[in-house]
Symmetry: C2
Amino acid sequence: MPERIFNFSPGPAVLPYSVLQEAAVDIVNFKGKGIGLIELSHRSKEFMAVADETEALIRELMGVPTNYKVLFLQGGASSQFFMVPMNLLQAGQKATYLNTGVWSKKAIKEAKLFGQVEVAYSSEETGFKRVPRDDEYTVAPDSEYLYFVSNNTIYGTQFPTMPNKEAMLIADMSSDILARPVDVSKFGLIFAGAQKNMGPAGVTVVIIRDDLLDRVGDKVPTMLKYKTHAEKDSMFNTPPCFSIYCVGLVMKWLKQVGGAAAMEKLNREKAALLYEMIDSTDFYRGHAEKDSRSTMNVPFNLPTKELEAKFIGEATAAGLDGLKGHRSVGGCRASIYNAFPKEGVEKLVSFMTDFAKNNG
Amino acid sequence: MPERIFNFSPGPAVLPYSVLQEAAVDIVNFKGKGIGLIELSHRSKEFMAVADETEALIRELMGVPTNYKVLFLQGGASSQFFMVPMNLLQAGQKATYLNTGVWSKKAIKEAKLFGQVEVAYSSEETGFKRVPRDDEYTVAPDSEYLYFVSNNTIYGTQFPTMPNKEAMLIADMSSDILARPVDVSKFGLIFAGAQKNMGPAGVTVVIIRDDLLDRVGDKVPTMLKYKTHAEKDSMFNTPPCFSIYCVGLVMKWLKQVGGAAAMEKLNREKAALLYEMIDSTDFYRGHAEKDSRSTMNVPFNLPTKELEAKFIGEATAAGLDGLKGHRSVGGCRASIYNAFPKEGVEKLVSFMTDFAKNNG
């Protein structure tokens, strides 16, 4: 096998190498049973055990209270943009949204199809460079929930702490779930597409407080009701078996390396290396404001577009892959999720130091 | 590796062994690039090439006309039950459904949320033992489409030929897509969950005539519009990359072994072996009526429940796995999709012969 590259992709993203190796064995012959993992009926005892264990590990690692369901759904986080209001917001009811990037904006658009949406804060006019402090917005008392995106992949911003408001929280944690401990009991619903911190694309994890399952109207299609999936332990129809299996492997790995608390420490260390590099020179400029900086995604610019193109080209050649920024911000972006090794961050910092010297 | 068992599971189901072997290599190190397949960004040139090739192979193998889109969606065939009427049926408009099993019944339930549903034929009262001939039902001229399930997994029935009616056809082909040549131009829309004849669970292939994309109302959430996915070549959001990749491998295998026409011949041979065995003795009784028999799923009963349990237990011990029938029919069921080897059918027939002798 050629050397493994460092993969800074924003998602699907790098996974622990041990996860890939175990999946490679099971995919051909699951636990020596003479049948491949992806050939197993979802109703087989083998696969049911995989799904049960995956759920149990998520519950343990996130400290999910017993009055919450953990669901494995399809359709990506993008489907949660409409499923949340479709299930939780009736016509005439109000919900509050914080507009801190592309993904919150898309969620706001879908919510407007179902109820009254109040955007209590927006950083759109200033390039989504920050997320709000609690004292920068209010939530109307008759609001059904407060919706926010905990980490903004494109702009590299992240809520340093979760909003502390008298409102039921709903969060899109796609890009920082399990990157730090979270008090799930403050939330009505948490969702995350798996392909950043949890596994491959193809499954979305939804954690929902069980009293919310009955809010949905009867005109909603069966497959779009959280209740349908909750009642059947995500086996109402064939689930995305392979993706669930991989999430299980990533959870096992995460438990081994110390869980969300250990990850938070490591993520802070990794991010600090990069931000210190960026702040140490005028050659690089970080996109996000300092008090909103993400530990997961670090977008930055160089003095010119030409230098950015050169930087990305040379980095790729040096085995530092996926550093091109999102088209809406431009420049470069290093995504350094849980499974991204510190060694790769150190290599990038060293590369950045040399590049600035040679081109500054 | 221990001997590979024969997997008669109704889905997720057996896949070509070469597909599993190739996936096992790519999952750790995709084409030697130092990055795992499931770590690749969906926007990387590597994955875009995978998706493009998979689509091209489906187009080639099914003879999809150029005025049709091929989409890779999530949510299973069950999500198509509501997406079809949500996109194609306006309030007050009429659609015709043929009720030939559990899956058509579920589709009928969802369609009623959106428009007027006419059930032109039902075999429910007689245990879903057959599908209708063209002369057994009529389609109202003002019907927007005629919806049917081409193969009924649970009851082992299959339309021997597609309905020949003055109506736009819409078919759930989840359990027999690519098992025989089909004239796609007769259809407005075809869909199939991948996990029977196309690959692993987690992706649903939708083939839709492009003039239908504009029928959808503007109150439909973005992710539920076929148009959204058609305009972005199924990359509006992160697609289920691994499942798409595997479908591509299965399509390559299918092309190598001769495509849908070769499959039809082989499927007929495999099914004939089983039906001849069943018909040769009173010990076994097939569920479906003879002119509706499926080449994909063969449900059958033994004289008593006790003998059925014994049969399944001894078969499993002999490496013939997944033969338990669906709870709504009981008894046994052999699912023998495209990738199921003829050798396994021969082994089952031989086992059935011996079992009848020893227990008859």
